[in-house]
């Protein structure tokens, strides 16, 4: 009992410490936002654009949040009115891109099984430590999607890990719908598959019903839409023929889009190919279902598979379907031959590379085994540096439909720059500064949480006695004496 309550106290103290640190951290991290149109420039020892040769003594100019020029300091002129981060001892890299995560939300899953009408926007917590850690680990673009415990989940969004509100963080809204081909808890694979198919059958029946109502001259759906306060003005008031590579409903042009039930509309967007699908596969056998659903309903081209590490066994199927994947954070998997009982290690990114499947890596945790570490693991297993870095920059950018926007230091791209103390894939390098959209958003020299982790330094005023019992020389002696007099 005593032990338990002590532990509870400790836990409270820890939480308290963490919160305090977090708030303090924020006050350091959130420097003034640059106004649109403001100019910012970085001069670094080496600029790795990842879109060409590295540039020694390079300069990056950012205007209005976008990179306008990258080149050698000899060639690129820094505008006179730009704020300059002059760090000749550091190296510049584009920010890393997390292709899929359910971190940074208050809770990653909703209990409703088919819930395409939800949006992660309402669940993202801008002050979650996760987003701070992203900066420390050099991640500047994050695709936040519902967790894997769903059948059809929420609409996700791409954010940058900086901002006091979700709106400030926003990079791309409606960045896809989360689907799971693996059974959520309590369901069998068969019922998961049935419900998943049923959701699309339900959409089809709903749309056919709307068309029939219109043909019958029935006005119910319009009145229902108005009653719910839905917008029927402009495009929303117009009908449009169904555009799908899978199945279509004849006569959908008769139905103003605003009259489609808002619970069904995100699914219609998916079927019409307007948003991508992120389909989770928890086992190789799930891949077939995922591809089948996507192809039957016409959104295979906009499908990305989010894979459990066991799914490397379905790589041939995935290659044939031509879809991209986000890999699990476990990169080395041990498989046992059931007959010989011999174990074999499989380096999973290697399998996908060999099959020519575009893949993005994902973080295992937000600090030690973040994207930088995952890319380094790939180099350790024989990837070239360019291949490994692509799996955390250009490939995830492509998968997210943000090619040229993020993942490289190129003119026209978002002004997201990491300044590292050395090779970002080295365990002894650190991200010293992070610039996002031309704003300096992270400076390690004032990052007390990193200091805490690295050096055990606890800022004054955040230390509690339950956490850190004070020991002075005389009490030590006393404790020792008591120990002796038994």
């Amino acid at each position: 009992m005593i032990q338990q309550s002590t532990r509870l106290l400790q836990r409270i103290a820890q939480t308290h410490l963490a919160l305090t640190l977090g708030l303090l951290g924020c006050s350091f991290l959130l420097s003034a936002q640059a106004e649109a149109g403001e100019k910012y420039a970085v001069r670094a020892g080496i600029v790795h654009t990842l879109a060409g040769e590295a540039i020694p003594n390079g300069v990056i100019v950012i205007e209005g949040g976008r990179i306008t020029a990258v080149g050698s300091a000899d060639d690129v002129k820094i505008p006179w009115d730009a704020e300059v981060l002059d760090v000749p001892h550091l190296e510049a890299y584009p920010g890393f891109v997390e292709a899929h995560t359910s971190s940074g939300m208050d809770r990653p899953n909703e209990s409703v099984s088919v819930a395409p009408f939800l949006n992660v926007r309402d669940s993202i917590d801008p002050v979650a430590f996760y987003f701070e850690d992203c900066l420390r680990s050099g991640i500047t673009t994050v695709n936040v999607q519902q967790g894997n415990a769903c059948i059809i989940g929420a609409v996700g969004m791409v954010v940058k890990p900086h901002g006091m509100t979700v709106e400030e963080m926003l990079v791309r809204p409606r960045a896809g719908l989360k689907i799971s081909a693996a059974p959520k808890s309590g369901m069998s694979r068969a019922t998961q598959a049935q419900t998943l198919r049923g959701a699309f059958t339900g959409l089809r029946l709903h749309l056919e019903d709307l068309v029939q109502q219109k043909r019958n001259g029935n006005d119910f759906s319009r009145r229902e839409a108005l009653y719910q306060g839905r917008d029927l003005a402009g495009e929303r008031g117009k009908g449009r023929a169904m555009m799908s590579k899978g199945w279509t409903v004849e006569g959908l042009e008769l139905v103003p889009r605003g009259e489609v039930d808002e619970k069904q509309e995100p699914l219609l967007d998916l079927v019409e190919g307007r948003v991508p699908a992120w389909i989770y596969c928890g086992a190789p056998m799930d891949v077939r279902l995922a591809l089948e659903i996507a192809s039957d309903n016409g959104f295979l081209e906009r499908t990305v598979l989010v894979l459990d590490d066991s799914c490397w066994k379905a790589a041939d199927l995935i290659a044939e379907a031509g879809v991209s994947v986000v890999l699990d954070s476990t990169l080395v998997r041990t498989e046992m031959d059931p007959k010989t009982e011999e174990e074999e290690e499989v380096f999973i990114p290697g399998v996908f590379k060999d099959k020519g499947i575009p893949f993005a890596l994902s973080s295992r945790n937000s600090t030690t085994e973040s994207l930088w570490f995952q890319a380094a693991m790939c180099v350790a297993h024989g990837f070239t540096r360019a291949e490994a870095l692509a799996a955390v920059t250009a490939t995830p950018a492509n998968i997210l439909g943000l090619e040229g926007e993020v993942g490289c230091l190129c003119p026209g791209a978002a002004g997201n720059v990491l300044l590292t103390s050395g090779d970002p894939l080295s365990v002894t390098s650190f991200v010293e500064y992070v610039v996002i959209d031309g704003n300096l958003v992270y400076d390690r020299s004032v990052d007390i949480r990193t200091q805490h982790l690295l050096e055990g330094v606890v800022p004054e005023g955040t230390e509690s006695h339950a956490e850190e019992p004070e020991v002075e020389e005389d009490t030590r002696k006393k404790a020792g004496d008591e120990g002796g007099s038994r």
């Binding site: 046992m336 174990e343 290690e345 030690t368 180099v379 080295s426 365990v427 020792g480």
Partner: protein
């Protein structure tokens, strides 16, 4: 008492062969016997195995470039830098000594700890080690070639640990490394985790002391005091008393798990109390000493060796809520302490002992210090510095072969030799 003498005799037969008997199973290094050589043979008898490394990190601060390593009878028979790679010889980028994990935790869980009483210094964990456990091979694949197996920390004094190679004969006694004997115990919440007061329930096995940290600490002191008392009063003798007296005499290392600073302090005070009482001086090693960074002074004054647990993303580690700052290894080494790193038995993947060395370097440890913390330092704790932990002629041919700079996140162990046998072939 007859019974106790039984037990003592049992210990002799069952447990680690006493040092003086030196029942060493490994073949002692025979001087090179001049074998009868066939007519058409080079002057030097062919090595069992040769390999060429761009760099050999010997562990003594030296880096040998383009070195040719020859292995014979499980030992490094020659190590010559500045050689070009002969045709057909196994070639690797880098070589270090095989890594040693003093806290590999490859015990057989609850089968490895005798919970019928909390003090069991006479029991040897060897009896419960399962060499067929796949974890041994997994660990070997990460370049860890020697480990210390201790009982699960559910006892105050759990018993004797056993040092083993991660590959070799499938019998513990044949694989046992007879170095310095280790007595394992714990301080903190774990040794009392299963115990509880009777509370009107039918009294079972676990309704007893200790149920608190102070109870655990009391059991430690009682054990040592009783062992000392039993020497004068033979009727007070108990199983394990002799082991405890040997520990007090510094003849065996006492390795205590203590995650938090309060538990580390308890361990050191216990040792200091024994010194004050004139009972002896424990050769103390703190295992899983995550919070050693908080009060390095007490460790310095007692010259305590620290084995650190694996680094975690957020710093919190272990069941006692300890916080391991990443600079801990570097700070302790800076204070002049001996530090060993551990991956707690993590197999292939991202948390291997090699990665732990890298993470410690992220916290400020130099490469040489990191190398020592996973090779020569643990070898010396095991009393096996003559055989393990560095790369030079005459040492066991336990080698980790790397495809790049050791401990870098961008390289890994691609090959492993244990006793000269290629356990993982890098080709």
């Amino acid at each position: 008492m007859i019974w106790t003498s039984f037990l003592h005799a049992v210990c002799l037969t069952l447990c680690a062969p006493p040092l003086q008997d030196a029942v060493v199973v490994e073949q002692p290094q025979e001087p090179e016997a001049p074998k009868a050589q066939p007519a058409v043979v080079p002057v030097v008898p062919a090595a069992d195995l040769r390999l060429h490394a761009e760099r050999v990190y010997t562990g003594t601060g030296e880096i040998l470039k383009n070195a040719l390593i020859e292995v014979r009878d499980g030992k490094i028979s020659s190590l010559r830098p500045g050689r070009s790679a002969p045709e057909g010889v196994l070639q690797v980028k880098a070589v270090t000594a095989g890594m040693i994990d003093l806290s590999a935790r490859l015990h057989s869980n609850f089968n490895s700890v005798e919970q019928s009483t909390e003090v069991q210094p006479h029991l040897d964990v060897a009896g419960s080690v399962d060499l067929h456990d796949k974890r041994f091979a997994r660990l070997a694949r990460t370049g860890v070639t020697t480990i210390l197996v201790n009982p699960l920390d559910r006892n105050v004094i759990g018993g004797r640990g056993v040092a083993l190679k991660t590959h070799g004969p499938m019998e513990v006694e044949a694989r046992r490394l007879n170095g310095r004997p280790i007595l394992r115990g714990a301080i903190g919440s774990e040794p009392s985790a299963a115990n509880h007061a009777a509370f009107g329930r039918p009294t079972d096995f676990y309704s007893r002391r200790p149920t608190t940290r102070m109870g655990v600490e009391w059991e430690w002191r009682k054990a040592f005091f009783d062992a000392v008392a039993a020497k004068r009063l033979p009727e007070k003798d108990f199983p394990g008393a002799e082991d405890l007296r040997e520990a007090l005499a510094g003849k065996r290392t006492v390795m205590i798990q203590a995650w938090t600073t309060q538990d580390i302090r308890t361990a050191v005070y216990l040792d200091e109390e024994m010194q004050r009482e004139g009972f002896g001086d424990l050769d103390l090693v703190i295992d899983a000493g995550a919070e050693a960074w908080k009060e390095p002074g007490i460790l310095v004054r007692n010259s305590t060796i620290v084995v650190l647990p694996p680094h975690t993303a957020g710093g919190r580690v272990g069941s006692d809520g300890a916080f391991l700052a990443w600079n801990t290894a570097s700070l302790l080494v800076g204070e002049g302490l001996t530090v060993c790193l551990s991956a707690h038995g993590a197999g292939p993947g991202s948390a291997t002992l090699g990665h732990q060395a890298g993470f410690a370097m992220r916290g400020g440890l130099s490469f040489d210090q990191a190398l020592a913390a996973v090779t020569s330092a643990p070898a010396s704790v095991l009393g096996l510095s003559e055989r393990l932990g560095t790369v030079h002629e005459g040492m066991d041919a336990d080698l980790a072969l790397w495809n790049g700079r050791p401990f870098a996140a961008t390289s890994r162990v691609t090959g492993v030799l244990i006793d000269g046998v290629i356990v993982v072939d890098p080709r």
